[in-house]
């Protein structure tokens, strides 16, 4: 019985293998689970990068097709490990552009991809733990900045607004807890005072008691939460009771929904940061042109990062000269960090020609310069967002 199941499983698995001359990368993303709406445009950005590569000559001198195999990591370690096991073993992918959530990224890397020697290039995992994860290998990279940077940026923002004391409330999940910890540390070291620092459980009907406790210490609130699960409710409770005057927060809170539900007139003293792209650079303009043409929302969270990751992976494979997994990490560093001719989003043909003639390139991405440091991290740019005319208006912090 067991044997039959196993064999039929393998036969079925064979169905999914595509033509042999393709170069496959794995693209696990949280397509189901808690954040499918966030992931949809990110996935579309990966598709756009793949399209650019294939439309402009494909990979290598014989124009092999660049294929992203899409699987579901569901923001969950169990699902991510299972999905990436299939990618690495059955689909035999060259590299992974991928998992969205930090926990899923760490689990799949430690459990599957690092032991197999496959490069992971995450598009949005932002946990500081990823920087110090590897032990003598160089296989995990990311095109999104670590929370360590955004927490500091937010502390600097608070200082520049003249805030001297602040209460911190964060949703008790891996993302918000991490960024709250970095913020508190940075704010204290800059001479600020944290009057209260409390976790809250998401999805409660009311947060009045939390708001009251924190509100007794300070008029300023640093809120780290997802708008849908607890953020809006806390803001509403805080506005109703008048416990706080100024609000700052990070990208989990940045959504039109917040303005629609709470009313723009109540959100005068609210500033949220998010990882952003400097829209004045040539790279971003080039990206925006392509994204608009394809109907991909260019400035949504982690969408440019997703494009950069898929494009960088293609450049690294081209640079390595074959789909050999072991050469990708070194090639990735070379094409991302330079020195060499600057390559902007969408310029696959140009990059291919330079590489073919033995030249070197330096990819400048839609989300930023995308230069990897020794941990495989990139520095991030952040924007501060305030409500103007009923919409969030981003201003890049430089």
């Amino acid at each position: 019985m067991m044997k039959k199941i196993l064999i039929s499983g393998m036969v079925i698995a064979g169905l999914s293998s595509v033509a042999y001359s393709d170069v496959k990368i794995g693209n696990p993303m949280a397509r189901t689970g808690p954040i499918p709406e966030l992931v949809k445009p990110m996935s579309a950005a990966v598709d756009l990068a793949v399209e650019h590569v294939n439309d402009q000559g494909g990979l290598f001198s014989d124009g092999q097709k660049y294929v992203a195999v899409k699987v579901d990591s569901a923001c969950d370690p169990v699902a991510a490990v299972d999905a990436v096991t299939k990618l690495v073993n059955v689909e035999v992918v060259t590299g992974i552009v991928g998992p969205v959530c930090s926990g899923a990224t760490i689990a799949q890397a430690e459990s599957v991809s690092i032991p197999a020697g496959v490069v992971t290039l995450s598009v949005s995992a932002s946990s500081p733990a990823i920087s110090e994860m590897e032990n003598g290998t160089d296989l995990v990279f990311r095109t999104a900045a670590s929370d360590a940077y955004q927490g500091i940026a937010l502390a600097e923002l608070a200082m520049s607004k003249g805030i001297k004391d602040i209460a911190v409330s964060y949703a008790n999940d891996d993302y918000n807890a991490a960024i709250a910890a970095v913020f508190s540390k940075a704010f204290t070291s800059m001479g600020g005072k944290i009057t209260g620092n409390e976790a809250h459980e998401p999805n409660k009907a009311s947060y009045r008691s939390e708001v009251n406790t924190l509100g007794s210490g300070s008029d300023n609130l640093a809120l780290f939460a997802y708008y849908g699960s607890s953020g809006i409710t806390i803001m509403r409770n805080a506005l109703e009771t008048g416990a706080f005057e100024n609000f700052i927060g990070a990208d989990g809170m940045l959504a039109q929904e917040v303005i629609d539900q709470l009313g723009a007139e109540n959100l005068g003293n609210v500033t949220f940061t998010t990882s952003a792209s400097d829209s004045s650079t040539d790279a971003f303009k080039s990206w925006k042109k392509h994204a608009d043409a394809a109907g991909v929302p260019a400035s949504d969270p982690f969408v440019p990062n997703s494009y950069d990751a898929a494009f960088l992976m293609a450049l690294a494979i081209e640079k390595a000269g074959s789909a050999d997994r072991s050469k990708i990490a070194a090639a990735l560093r070379e094409v991302a960090n330079g020195p060499g001719e600057k390559i902007l989003p969408g310029e696959w043909k140009k990059a291919k020609e330079i590489l073919a003639s033995g030249g070197s390139i330096d990819y400048v991405g839609a989300a930023g310069p995308q230069d990897f440091d020794k941990n495989g991290d990139v520095a991030g740019l952040f924007s501060k967002n305030t409500v103007v005319d009923g919409k969030w208006k981003p201003v890049v912090i430089k």
Binding site: M10, L15, S16, T32, A44, K86, V88, N89, V90, G103
Partner: protein, 360 residues
């Protein structure tokens, strides 16, 4: 050739996770199949096992308590003991509750365990979880193991490094899968022994007619607590293996009830509750379908795309995850309609000894 190795390693991974789910299903079978205890808190006991194992065996860390660096087998055994202790406390308090009330209580307890793990950040690193959990067999390739007793007794660290470089990197995968399968087999035989023993027959009597069993002088409460603890101990061990397989555990997503508690229930019901073989079959079958269906849906979408090239398939690709869930749901419906008592229905234990083989 490489592709066959790939399929082999994927099969190993299927057997590993299938084996872990089989352990969970066997544990639940003791509680539900034997004793009729409706435990809706499987995830909680698995989490206790996983966290106990992780805290005892990981290297020292600034993020969480200890990292006691104990031998892995100590971690496995302590995981079982801890799950057993928690089950004892819960059992003494809750076991007198009738089936549906026990279900509510255990759901609550699993949530309490999750919230404790999430909020005691000094011990567990809270929602960010514990990573670098050592995995049986693979851990030999870590420096802290091969440069210490007993491995340094056989060869010096340099020698081990050379040795591990000389063998394929995936060598530990079949060993790890086999270890889990052997544990499943051992526990299966122990539970089979138990099922046909006087204790097992008494459990059936209690499950089928509690009052009659009590009238016959059986200590119903005590027996039920025993079954509850035994089931939880097996779940704790499964949790320890799950932690090893994932190498990162965090309380929110890893021990999500839909994937840890209710999926295990589905496995047990589909396979046949009350039947240990059924529990194992259900676990492997459902996990194989769960995992390999992703390859099928991807393949089907590719085929659709080549058949009708005017249709835009990108929308299908984004929805593939949901289509897969629907597919699994339909399959479960089919199994439950076709086999209402599970694929392998329960066989009542024989009276004893020789007449055993004549029993139906």
């Amino acid at each position: 050739m490489e592709i066959f190795l790939g399929y082999f390693l994927y099969a190993m991974s299927l057997l590993t996770v299938g084996g872990i789910y089989a352990l969970l299903a066997l544990g639940l079978n003791v509680q539900w199949g034997f004793a009729g205890l409706f435990n809706a808190g499987v995830a909680g006991f698995a989490a206790i096992g996983a966290y106990t194992y992780a805290l005892l065996t990981t290297a020292k860390s600034q993020f969480h308590f200890g990292g006691l660096e104990l031998p892995l087998i100590v971690g496995d055994i302590t995981a079982m003991i801890f799950a057993g202790i928690v089950a004892t406390i819960i059992g003494i308090i809750c076991i007198r509750l009738r089936a549906d009330y026990l279900a509510i209580a255990t759901i609550g307890i699993a949530e309490i365990i999750k919230l404790i793990l999430k909020n005691e950040t000094d011990i567990t690193n809270g929602p960010r979880g514990i990573n670098k959990i050592p995995r049986t067999w693979e851990h030999f390739t870590e420096e802290r193991f091969y440069s210490n007793f007993p491995m340094n007794f056989i060869s010096n660290p340099k020698g081990w490094e050379v040795f591990f470089d000389s063998i394929p990197k995936w060598w530990w995968q079949p060993f790890f899968a086999c270890t889990i399968l052997i544990v499943v087999i051992i526990i299966y035989f122990l539970l089979e022994k138990l099922r046909v023993s006087p204790w097992g027959r008494m459990m059936t009597a209690i499950r089928e007619n509690e009052k009659a069993a009590a009238a016959a002088g059986k200590n119903v409460t005590k027996r039920r607590i025993e079954a509850f603890i035994l089931g939880a101990v097996i779940m704790g061990l499964a949790g320890a293996f799950l932690g090893q397989h994932l190498r990162l555990i965090e309380p929110t997503q890893t021990f999500d009830p839909s994937k840890m508690t209710f999926l295990v229930w589905v496995m047990l019901i589909a396979g046949g509750s009350g039947n240990n073989k059924g529990a194992i079959l259900g676990a492997f079958l459902i996990w194989f379908v769960w995992s390999s269906s992703e390859l099928v849906t991807n393949g089907v979408i590719e085929i659709l795309a080549t058949m009708f090239d005017s249709v835009d398939i990108s929308i299908l690709k984004n929805r593939a995850g949901f289509i897969r869930m629907l597919f699994i749901g339909l399959l479960l419906q089919f199994i439950l309609q076709r086999f209402p008592k599970g694929i392998l229905p329960e066989k009542r234990p024989a009276i004893s000894g020789k007449s055993q083989k004549y029993a139906g």
